[in-house]
Structure formats: C-alpha cells, structure tokens
Symmetry: C2
Subunit: 224 residues, 2 copies
C-alpha cells in the first residue's frame, strides 16, 4: 500500500537488545545479527575494512548480499557495531575485575591481564578494533571515541594512583601510551603455537612495564 520505498528505512525494526539483560535467547533478529557480526569480524580481520567487500561479508555469513542490509544500513555501521561491542565488553569486564582491589600495583596488573586476556581470546575482534581505528566517520567515530577515552582515562587513573602512592616521576601520558603500544602490538606477532598464554605474557609485560615505571623514582635510588 502506501509508499514502501521512501522514508521508511525499516528503522523501527532495528532497536533491539532491551536495555535490561536478556538472559540468553534474545530475539531471532538479535541472534542472527550476532552471527553476522562474528563472521564479518573474521573477514575484516583477514582483509581489512576497505579490502573486505560486502560480497565477501555476505558469503561468510551464508546470507545473500541484499539480505545483509536488513540487519544494518551500511558497511560502516557494521564495523561500528563490531567495534562498539568489543570495546564495551572489555571496559565492562575491567570494571568488574577492579572492584574490591585496592593495591595500586595490583590494579595495574589487573588492567594488563584483562586487556591481554581479552585480546588473545578475541584476537580477530581486537585486531579489527586496533587496526581499523580510524576508518569510522562523524557520528560513528565520536561515539566510539567516547568509549576509547573512558578506557584511556581509567588507565591514566591507575597509573596516577601508583605515581602518587610511591612518589614516582614518569610522564603519565607517555607511560600509558607505551603500555597500550606494548599490549596492542601483540596482534601483529602473537602465534598461539609459539607464544605463551595470556597469563604468562601479562606477567612478563607487567614486569617490564611496572619495574620500568617504578624504578628510580624520587624515592632514593641508592640505599639511603
């Protein structure tokens, strides 16, 4: 009837995933979308955002090209959904793990472990997050930047606490970004058949970073 073409934009159908917690099943729509996101993550990981075509993505999901657009309105939004979900999850898990831990050094170690554990368990998603960090535009970009900034600020807070507690003298910004570099670079080299698991790597990176940042503060370097 009416005009099925213009303006409709199906948009009404899109907003699912009730703000509360759906225990498991969610709607059919949500379940299928989740599958598509998972397959798309694989493809983006292997070929990059620009290098992956909508035809590649649809093939990976076992869905027709046109059918994809029932679930999201553009390729860019698909990337956004992947990145947002990945990043939100890691922030949320971090908050849960930090709760109840008071020791400043221990809190930094938890940050590192949380990051690396999630990174290695969801390597493809994290590569897409790290490697395609600049491709989103405008609205998508700023919404993701907000989550990113929150995560960054948490880490700044942890290091500033440590710095205050022990009277250290590093530049927080450099330290935080060096730490992110150490951790995020892992997607370029980690090979599960050669390298240790997340716990071991987190311990070793934590050792390097924490000793590096905690040695030689204002507090006497000699034995005095």
């Amino acid at each position: 009837m009416g005009s099925p073409s213009t303006a409709t934009r199906i948009s009404g159908r899109r907003q699912r995933s009730s703000s509360g917690h759906t225990p498991v099943p969610a709607t059919r729509f949500d379940r299928r979308l989740k599958e598509i996101l998972a397959h798309a993550t694989d493809v983006f990981c292997k070929k990059g955002y620009e290098g992956a075509s909508m035809r590649d993505l649809s093939r990976a999901s076992g869905m027709s090209l046109a059918g994809m657009y029932y679930y999201f309105e553009s390729k860019e939004r698909l990337l956004f959904l992947i990145q947002k979900h990945t990043f939100s999850t890691i922030v949320q898990r971090l908050k849960a793990r930090l709760e109840g831990v008071d020791d400043a050094e221990q809190r930094v170690r938890i940050f590192i472990l949380n990051h690396l554990e999630y990174f290695l368990a969801n390597q493809q998603a994290m590569k897409v997050l790290s490697h395609e960090a600049e491709v989103l535009k405008n609205g998508f970009a700023s919404e993701l930047a907000a989550i990113k900034r929150e995560y960054y600020r948490i880490c700044v807070g942890l290091l500033d606490d440590l710095k205050g507690e022990r009277d250290l003298q590093f530049t927080t910004r450099i330290a935080v970004l060096s730490l992110f570099g150490m951790m995020n670079w892992i997607y370029t080299w980690h090979n599960p058949r050669v390298d240790a698991d997340a716990d071991a790597i987190a311990r070793e990176m934590g050792d390097i970073f924490l000793r590096g940042v905690m040695t030689g503060g204002k507090s006497r370097r000699d034995g005095r």
Copy 2:
C-alpha cells in the same frame, strides 16, 4: 615498429639508481619517481592502501592516471617501493650509529633513539610501513620480510648482549616485541603540538623499557 602492444612491458627501462652512489641528481626518471613516492606516501597515510585509489595518487602527484604506470607496473609495487625504501633507510642508519659503540645498554638506547627519531621525522612513511604491513603478497612480501627480519634480529642481538652481560632473565622475544610495540604504536597518538620531541620520548621510553628489563634479574632482588 614491430608489435608495440604485446610482451614489451617496458621493463628494460626500469632498473636505475646505479648500485654505486649517485651524488645527487640521479636520472630524470629517478627524481620524478621519488616525488611520486613522496606524494603517494601522504595519500596512503591518510586513506590507507586499499582506501587510496590510483586516481587519488595521480592527483596528488600532479600526473595523469595513465602516466603513473610509466613509473611502476602496479599499485602494489608502488607500496612496495615506499616500504622498502623506508625500511632500508632506517636499518642503514642504525648500523652507522651503532658502529664504535660498545656498551650494551648504550647500544639499546641508540636503537630506540634511531627508531623514534626516524619515526617522528618521517611519520607518514612509518605509518604506511607499520599499518600496511600485511597487504603485500608473494614476492613483494618476502623481500620486505627479509629486511624486517634483519631489523628484528639486530634488536634481538642487542638485548641478548645486555642479558648475557648482566645476567638478566627476561624472555628476549617478548621483550623485543614489547619494545617494538611501545615504539610503533606512536603513530596512533603522537601530536607534535602536545608531545615532546624524539629525544625526550626516546629517553623516557628507554627508561621504562631498560629499567623494566634490567631490574630484578638473577642477581639478588633482596639485599642479600
């Protein structure tokens, strides 16, 4: 006259840049190619390899689309030329700087400074090198991988020397790759209007990394 179409492939014209040292002028061909590489580096840096079209690249060089193919036979080879030149230069400069320096710690500091100095002075080229590290295929990929491996091995050597000299106990592979991560990640955050220059950052990253790696070796951690 013969057949100008098939098989010619102009290839003979390509091999320039005499193995020796051309003092400055080089051939006209070489000079123009260098300009094109410089402009292409800008564009690849801004839009990524897949995101940059040959039309973008030709526009940036002020040359026609078809004209570009007089200088290189494919977009992939263009990226290869950029990456190879960038990487070769950084390795070559490193070797020169290491010559004559014996102290193991000092040699690691030189490695870090050399990397960061070149990184910040040629930020676009280094971003293209870091970010588009996986797009080349087959022959191009393996030739570049060889340079990469040489650079990596140099760093492993420096750290193993340090480790042997001072009886330390870190995992070299993890340490090297953590260091690369710290340094290479810089392309995602460095802002010349906010952040310090290469010397200062190299000093601070060097402090973090070297203290991290040198503290708490086999040599007693307690005062015994």
